[in-house]
Symmetry: C2
DNA sequence: AAGATTACCTTGGCCGACCAATTAATGGGT
DNA sequence: ACCCATTAATTGGTCGGCCAAGGTAATCTT
């Protein structure tokens, strides 16, 4: 099917993805990164994705759910369900907002605050693993390029609130 | 809580993530990228993730499920369920392997082959959106850095088959 | 040849993430 | 006052992804 001497044979990129090698690499790295985060987070009783919610709550204190949704930029229904589970597992409390009976105030529990350092540790360790062997300059380049790409992926979606 | 003049105040990075700014940016970009891919793929009747399976099948023809699992590097159960849905939607056929009664042979249907070009188009468009405004040099740097990071995230998981 | 081990796949359960549709409360316009 | 658009959350459904177990079938061992 494939000739051993053809130079293209050493490239395992699928034909349909030849036009987007970077996207392919990005997708692979993304999944690896999330999986690695998940493995580390599991020891703390958190599921991947919950970290971002908790981080925001630790920083900002009690906050409207709508504010949280904007901050993490997720679908409202996603956040609702996540918060239900985080409440169940004791990481979060939810209470109705007296000033707006539609809204819900979310707050990290005192117990969960003990996790802040652990999560910070996990996050730092993940960073170290991710960037191992990269020079300071490479790291700076990487964040710069990620920033550009992020901008590109936000626009055109016709709603990227700043 | 935060002083308006503190230079750190313009940085919205959560405290717990200060030790991993790159990981944070990578996570954001990853989700945006996947969402963008999903939006484009939906027009073709594919869900994000299925593309990779189909790409491999289009390239390699009938293939053992175990081979497919290794190729896309996903959990076997994930692939099983994905294939059940892909079969249901007519993109794939599955048949028992006569040479090994445990195994299953998977093949892209003729109908699905019409999607190859569309997926390639989607993938190229996604690439263009992702990398818009980046110079040839920046793009090369980005793939290089992604490669390094991928290597870092593979190792330590103690199984990264080449 | 019988038993232990390994390989291949499936099932069930859980979670993150999306969309579509709904309920409930607020606020603006006339 | 009233109606109506907007905003806040929720529910139900579907998928991709993981883990833990389980059930066959092939293979290795003794």
């Amino acid at each position: 099917m494939t000739k051993p001497d053809d130079p293209a044979c050493t490239d395992h990129t699928p034909l349909a993805a030849r036009g987007g090698p970077v996207s392919l690499a990005l997708a692979r790295v993304a999944r690896l990164h999330r999986t690695a985060a998940g493995r580390r987070l599991r020891g703390l009783g958190l599921y991947p994705g919950q970290e971002f919610v908790m981080m925001h709550l630790w920083d900002k204190g009690p906050v409207r759910q709508s504010e949280l949704i904007k901050a993490v930029d997720l679908d409202p229904s996603t956040v609702t369900k996540m918060l239900q589970r985080l409440e169940q597992s004791g990481h979060v409390t939810r209470s109705p907002d007296p000033r707006d009976r539609r809204a819900v105030l979310v707050e990290a529990t005192d117990a969960s605050c003990g996790l802040l350092e652990d999560v910070a540790g996990v996050w730092a360790a993940l960073e170290e693993q991710t960037l191992a062997g990269l020079s300071e300059l490479d790291r700076a380049e990487f964040v710069r390029l990620l920033g550009l790409v992020e901008g590109n992926l936000c626009t055109e979606a016709e709603d990227c609130p700043d």
